[in-house]
Amino acid sequence: MVQLALLTAIALTIFMAEAQLPPLVPIQGVKLGLANIVTVYAVFVLGPGDALLILCARVFLGAVFSGQMMTLLYSAGGGLLAWAVMAGLSRILTVKQLWLASPLAAVFHNLGQLLVAAGVMKSWAVMAFLPWLLISGVVTGLFTGLCAQFLIARLERISRGKDPGTKED
């Protein structure tokens, strides 16, 4: 429980910090999605159920704190789809391969977001962004996946009682 609350707080902090950055590319929905490092970590280390709790809490609180309730719809649509994909992949992949699950989840996150956008706008015109969002999903997903992978490697070393800051050999 404490761990879940902590992870939610970390995810929320990352989410809010990233929201302050100006958009990198002038395309709706393209961003790093750094908060998903926590989701990826949680799915593979704590299990899909706990990850879902963290995700829901983060998405809801993120929308409250950023003051835009529309964010709730987009994040939820994308986040839940990505979570479902990751939950499925966590049965196939081991913890060492989780960096591979992240880009696929990111692609589905962007797809879900775009479907929500199409519903909100009542127009399929937004689908013109799909190829851009797919490419960005693979790239940013790979980045966050690798972040989570390095994070887990570090945490393992800490829990084995070694100082992660010092080189060992």
């Binding site: 958009p23 699950a101 909100v120 127009s123 013109a128 851009w132 490419i135």
Partner: protein
Amino acid sequence: MSRGVKAIMAALVLILAGSAAFLLLRPKSEGHVARISLDGQVVEEIDLSRVETPYTLTIDGPGGFSNTITVEKGRICVSKAGCPDQICVHQGYISDGTTPIVCLPNKLIIEIIGGGSGLDAATG
């Protein structure tokens, strides 16, 4: 490497290649009619090829703020928006049907659709 890993890698490469190919190979649409829709409703259609002097129009959206649209001969852009992210402003001018301007918070879409050859050509 297990089969699952290989399948995922293949899927990712396929997604990347497919998207890139689509972006590079799609034909440039010939449309020159800008259609402005708000919340799914078409509010204005402007034939950009007939615009002689540039002008602006302001549209109030359901998001509670307005977008200022600049119309020029052959191209159109959102020059001012009341939203916090300003993505539609940063996108700049569009002059063909490949990428529409979308302002999510205000539910505004500006897309360029076919003119002359019939509207049906661009709706697919």
